[in-house]
Symmetry: C2
Subunit: 334 residues, 2 copies
């Protein structure tokens, strides 16, 4: 953008740059005649103030960043959507960074940090030491899908209650041998596994160890091929993608879902509703998660003290057919 500068506008309008600035931002008094001259000059030159100059002088970026591990799958897109929407309404641009397995993440994140007024960080995307360093530097930060790190705020959705409700429901279906697919010791997911295990314990059932796998359809498929050999009544999966993969694995092994084995997911992504069989899952308010993070971050930037506190959004258990065939379901309204 080889744009014109405020100096050229000032010259063309026959005033000083200070006056141009005041006229454009509406700070300080400017006579109607001058304002009009400036307006015309701006129009003729197609002048747009350089964001760099403004930010440097104002000492703020009017932008904030969001860091996630990966953008694949529907999960992050939805959260990001809610986030961007609110951030935009608050007059802030949003910078994204996906870390994937890339090297040099700390440097990249620090670079990002110098471009924004605040940062939202997903789950265990970054090592705690780095989070501490960033928080200590005074950068406003909001954690997403995990509990708060010292010096930050956090938003996540409810895990334990939904996990318990899901487990109780599965037990009511008569399922007794459980398998868990997609274990990491990540914040969100480990909270679910803990609640599942506790609930099973209450019913005298020993919880199995979760089988690690990537949170993808392929990951679920691979894990499923292994898991299903032991003939569990139900496979509880860390998310919907894993569940869809497990269902594929079951088909591959000649097992019918849910007659031979039940499968459940988590998130309620679009495919969950349309899959065969339709997936029993837990719906997270993904957009609201992103929106809440944006609002919290804005408060921090405005000067609020980080409370080291976690905001928890409600989830819904969504019963469809993958957890047990004896349920009758009228077609869902879209």
């Amino acid at each position: 953008m080889s744009d014109s500068t405020i100096y050229e506008v000032a010259r063309l309008a026959g005033v000083s740059i200070a006056t141009v600035s005041r006229a454009l931002r509406g700070t300080g008094p400017v006579s109607a005649a001058t304002r009009e001259k400036v307006r015309r000059a701006v129009e003729e030159l197609r002048f747009t103030p350089s964001r760099l100059g403004v930010s440097l002088a104002e000492g703020r970026h009017a932008a904030n960043g969001i860091v996630f591990p990966d953008l694949s799958g529907p999960y992050f897109g939805e959260v990001l959507l809610g986030y961007e929407e609110v951030a935009a309404d608050l007059g802030r641009s949003v910078l994204i960074l996906s870390t994937r397995d890339r090297a040099g993440v700390p440097e990249t994140v620090k670079d990002l940090a110098t471009r924004v007024d605040g940062l939202v960080v997903f789950g265990q995307t970054l090592p705690d030491a780095l989070l501490t360093e960033l928080a200590d530097s005074g950068l406003p930060m909001v954690m997403l899908a995990r509990d708060a790190h010292p010096g930050t705020e956090a938003v996540r959705s409810e895990n334990a209650g939904a996990a318990e409700a899901l487990t109780v429901h599965l037990i009511a279906h008569g399922h007794r041998t459980f398998a868990l697919a997609g274990g990491h010791d990540e914040g969100d997911v480990s909270q679910r596994w803990t609640a599942v295990a506790r609930t099973l314990g209450h019913h005298g059932i020993t919880a199995p160890r979760p089988v690690e796998c990537p949170y993808t359809v392929d990951g679920g498929y691979e894990a499923g091929l292994g898991l299903l050999k032991s003939g569990p009544d139900v496979v509880v999966c860390a998310d919907d993608q894993v569940a869809l993969g497990v269902i594929l694995a079951a088909e591959e092994l000649g097992l019918r879902v849910p007659d031979d084995v039940a499968v459940t997911g988590w998130d309620d992504i679009m495919a969950a509703r349309h899959s065969r069989p339709a997936l029993t899952t837990v719906r997270q308010p993904l957009r609201e998660l992103g929106a809440a993070a944006a609002r919290l971050l804005d408060e921090l930037i405005a000067g609020a003290e980080p409370s080291d506190t976690t905001r928890v959004l409600a989830t819904d258990l969504v019963i469809r057919s993958s957890c047990g065939a004896h349920q009758v379901h009228p077609p869902e309204e879209p």
Copy 2:
């Protein structure tokens, strides 16, 4: 980030800011001893150069932007993923902007334009007049999922050939009465409809007018309820989400897919593969689309002249079961 500045580093190291800058960037000669002093000062102060200062002095942002209509659904997330990955590897941050139906889009986009070295713009997200204005200002731009606008480059995936192949396939299935769901006069989609109509014409079939609807499951459902009344053999949909909605509508009306009516989508999103019945669709290389855009944009920023040319990526016709039940499909490997 209440960070320290290059002045404090210089003072602590006992050198000038020019030397600090040279030491840090590796431009110009700096003695080993000095370099070490600077290194220590930087470490002690946890100094990170202010991106604002650097950018203002360098005259570049090392960032580029991407504008899309909406982030919902799997489509944009995938493209964005491919885009971000390449941009990051090229050392550029990425700013996103989703326009939705928001007011003040031109201002927001112009603001974005002052924050980046170049811009990727999706489909018909922005009015042509605005595109022209931006291009004229010298901003490097790449159009995505549409043909090039003067002064830009463009990337999209192949439409006409796939649409023809799909239509031929459907005719081979014995389908004769067609319905088209999800019409807009958007670049990508209208190319598909044109090709479908032409192909039908070759076979002596008159193409129906596409029924407009939002590109969502709900949009497809609503459109489907209307469309299916006339009893078409097949409903060709503008994308997979619309197709999934039409399938729901068919179920609602007591029609079996594909026995009573065939349905096809476009994009090959995850849900297409897992839906019941699995969706016949056209796979677009979504990530590669984003990646190609990022690379093209980088070339423009590096100084290449915009060619007003459109790069076209290949698509694949993916035959599953929603287009006709007589096909036998072994379970897909993930």
